[in-house]
């Protein structure tokens, strides 16, 4: 086969055919693996929710443990009223934009815990997490944070237990007003609200976590206070 490999037509046709072939192969791979990936993502989400109430589960047992521990999952609006919707599979960013907030009710050793979703921004990308409160709807029982691409060894440390365990026992309300929990530079302190140490060397991620907790839980305030009186 004799062909002029330097001609424009050959080059354009070659590039077009190549691109179409690659697109087909990639689309096929993506479709074929979609089911497995979805399952992994769901189990990962279950593990995050379970970590916020100190329940350890491997990816394989996440689904069983989740079904055991989580008694109820629903959405609330910004007036604290229960509304229709699937709390687990809803996209938290979209839900917050429509002023709907996922709530998970867990039963840990006979005690009721309320788990709320959080969504915010770090230095390089989105942050998200779950925070669980005791049945006084004020004292934090546990928390779990995740991130898309914070700096390993610095901002990425927020996803470790060393950071999230600092939140246990902190109060969201001070003098009956919602104050959230501040994330401060290690060694600093703030007046009139509870605070935890941030991560040294990752100021922006720490501030992002601070803002995320405040902004996200702000939508839950009515829900948290509605049955508090």
């Amino acid at each position: 086969m004799i062909m002029n490999r330097d001609s424009n037509i050959y080059t354009v046709v070659y590039a077009s055919v190549m691109v179409v072939l690659v697109a087909v192969v990639l689309a096929f791979t993506s479709q074929a693996l979609r089911g497995y990936q979805k399952k992994n993502e769901d189990n990962d989400k279950r593990q995050q929710i379970l970590r916020s109430i100190h329940v350890k589960a491997t990816a394989n047992e996440a689904e069983t443990r989740y079904n055991e521990v989580i008694k109820e999952a629903f959405l609330v609006n910004d007036k604290g009223e229960k509304i229709e919707g699937d709390a687990f599979s809803i996209n938290v960013v979209k839900a917050f934009a429509q002023h709907t907030y996922p709530v998970f009710i867990a039963n840990v050793e006979g005690k009721t815990k309320y788990i709320m979703a959080m969504q915010g921004a770090g230095l390089w990308g989105p942050l998200w997490g779950y925070i669980a409160v005791d049945d006084d709807r004020n004292t934090i029982f546990g928390a779990d944070f995740s991130h898309a691409g914070e700096t390993p060894g610095l901002g990425a440390e927020i996803s470790g237990a060393a950071f999230s365990s600092r939140f246990s026992g902190k109060k969201l309300f001070y003098d009956n007003t919602f104050k959230s929990v501040a994330v401060v530079k290690p060694g600093k302190s703030v007046a009139n609200r509870d605070y935890v140490d941030g991560i040294s060397g990752s100021t922006i991620t720490s501030k992002g976590v601070d803002k995320m907790i405040f902004d996200s839980l702000n939508g839950y305030v009515q829900f948290l206070t509605s049955q508090n009186q």
Binding site: L33, N40, E41, P152
Partner: protein, 209 residues
């Protein structure tokens, strides 16, 4: 090794030592520093790069007589990018946790200099079998270095190997502490340097004056 001619043997085994992509050619250093704080991601990264470089080499080698010269780099990039995307999707489906740890570095295999280097220097001028061996050789050469670095960094930095505790509790009771510094990328560079030092002192031919 009876199946391989002496030339094939050299193509396959050369990159493991005398012509190692990381410690002799100094390619792929970036990812070698970034993913090696634990042993498991080092192994997965090594396997992923080996798979990508071997198949990219074969594909480019098969296409080498048809590729228009003016867009050959683009063709190589498309082939590599497609393979990396497939590897990334497979990891997401079957090794989700490791994929999370490797995060952006799977995508960055595309820019790993070893790939473009082998495609340009070898696959464009050799047949598919030789190119496959070359890819495996270079991938394994890279993986071996990553595993060595990952081994020492996880052992000294976390006291574990593949997540299992190997430094006994008694050591900690006597005041032994994990070296947090070795988890940070600069220490990986120093580990690489020590490997290069040992390697050069054993291979006189590689020493420069």
């Amino acid at each position: 090794m009876g199946l391989l001619s002496s030339k094939s043997k050299e193509i396959l085994l050369g990159p493991l030592s005398k012509n190692n992509p990381v410690i002799v050619q100094m390619l792929g250093i970036c990812s070698a520093l970034a993913v090696t704080s634990k042993l498991e991601p080092s192994i997965v990264m090594g396997i992923s790069v080996t798979a990508v470089v071997a198949f990219a080499n074969v594909i480019i080698s098969l296409l080498r007589n048809t590729i228009p010269n003016r867009i050959r780099i683009i063709v190589q990039l498309v082939v590599v990018a497609a393979l990396v995307t497939i590897v990334s999707e497979v990891l997401k489906a079957f090794a989700y946790d490791v994929n999370k740890q490797l995060s952006v570095f799977v995508g960055l295999i595309i820019t790993n200099c070893i790939l473009m280097g082998r495609l340009e220097a070898f696959a464009l001028g050799n047949g598919p079998w030789a190119a496959f061996l070359d890819g495996i050789g270079n991938g394994v050469g890279y993986a071996v270095i990553l595993v060595i670095i990952g081994f020492f960094r996880e052992l000294l930095g976390s006291g574990t190997l593949l997540g299992l505790r190997v430094v006994p509790q008694a050591f900690y009771d006597f005041g032994y502490v994990n070296n947090g510094l070795i988890i940070l990328p600069p220490m990986a560079l120093i580990v690489v340097a020590v490997i290069i030092w040992v390697h050069r002192s054993r291979n006189k031919t590689l020493q420069e004056n």
